[in-house]
């Protein structure tokens, strides 16, 4: 891992933590998942996972809503999903130009924001249900209003912001994405 990547991981982790605190009053709408995904997309799955874990190490422990170890570990683990998905897609789309297919990519990124969030919410709901001795199915469905909001918000954020953010990071790294030159 070169110094540029390490600097980008630190910067994106800081951005993710800062936006999470800034949006503390807006429930279920956070930029963290998106930043972890974009980090993974542009700099590889390991970078994405690192951003997710670093973010939760700080945001999870210094959190005004409290600290539950099981939930904290689950969120840290689940946050890595965005990094892994981002890394996989970044590798797959490494040499693909965004020009001329932005709308299609927006819709695609929106679904890629939605589907990992379903998995994330499932994992965290199971962890929360286990820690509070609640039936898992009941926990999943009683919390559905929050999970649906989280999923829809992530779909919107990923759909709208992915292409501009990836393009910006690509320019910052000298026209390269996932260590592959753009066609």
């Amino acid at each position: 891992m070169n110094s540029f990547k390490i600097a980008m991981i630190a910067t994106l982790a800081a951005l993710s933590i800062a936006t999470n605190y800034a949006l503390i009053g807006v429930h279920q709408v956070k930029l963290m998942d998106f930043i972890v995904f974009v980090g993974g997309f542009c700099f590889g799955a390991l970078a994405g996972v690192s951003i997710g874990i670093l973010s939760w190490l700080i945001y999870g422990t210094i959190n005004p809503y409290g600290f539950v170890p099981q939930v904290w570990l689950a969120t840290m683990l689940a946050e890595s999903i965005y990094g892994i998905v981002g890394g996989f897609l970044g590798k797959t789309l490494a040499s693909t130009s965004f020009d001329g297919q932005r709308f299609k990519l927006c819709v695609f990124f929106a679904t890629m924001g939605f589907l990992p969030t379903v998995l994330y919410d499932l994992i965290t709901n199971v962890a929360w249900a286990s820690s509070s001795n609640m039936p898992i199915v009941a926990a999943i469905f009683f919390g559905a209003q929050f999970t649906v909001l989280h999923e829809v918000a992530n779909a919107a954020i990923f759909g709208i912001c992915s292409v501009p953010m990836i393009t910006a990071l690509e320019k910052l790294s000298g026209g390269w994405r996932y260590v592959v030159p753009k066609k």
Binding site: T92, L93, T96, Q101, K104, L105, V107, F108, A110, T111, F114, L115, V118, A138, I140, F141, F142, A144, Q145, T147, V148, E151, V152, A155
Partner: protein, 153 residues
């Protein structure tokens, strides 16, 4: 990337997301409903219960209390014969000695008043009544071909 060129892949992904949202919302409201029923299920409420024998006799039992419609009928002192269809509930065949008749095509059905009579649509023991609701049992003539029940007058 080849899958991006196929628009059906994108449509399928969007439909998958939509299916997940719909299922989650469905599950949420189902749990809310069962929770509400569990909380209120034991509380009988007063209703305006009536019976019309389709021979000019209509009797009202206003203020009858019950949890379900069937419960209210029993508390009103009616003699009810019914066949159980398991989870679907009870099918009423006879009330106060008046039994349904295939020959004259007359069957018991219950109707609730909402800007006019609306057919109940569910088994009486599955229907949880609301406060001051007006419900009538009517010995309806039923069209033998369409199975459409005549509304109470």
């Amino acid at each position: 990337m080849s899958f991006l060129k196929n628009r059906w892949t994108i449509i399928a992904l969007v439909m998958l997301c939509w299916a997940i949202v719909s299922s989650s919302v469905l599950g949420y409201y189902y749990y809310q409903y069962t929770d509400l029923v569990a909380r209120l299920g034991g509380v009988p409420v007063p209703i305006n219960l009536g019976i019309d024998y389709a021979n000019g006799t209509r009797i009202w039992f206003n203020g009858t209390v019950g949890v379900t419609l069937y419960d209210a009928m029993i508390r009103a002192g009616w003699r009810v014969n019914a066949t159980s269809f398991g989870a679907m509930g009870l099918y009423v065949t006879s009330i106060n000695g008046i039994t349904e008749s295939l020959q004259s095509s007359r069957f018991w059905g219950w109707w609730t008043w909402m800007y006019g009579w609306s057919h109940g649509g569910s088994a009486c023991n599955k229907y949880i009544v609301t406060i001051n609701e007006t419900v009538i049992w009517y010995y309806s003539y039923t069209d033998p071909t369409t199975w459409e029940m005549t509304r109470p007058p």
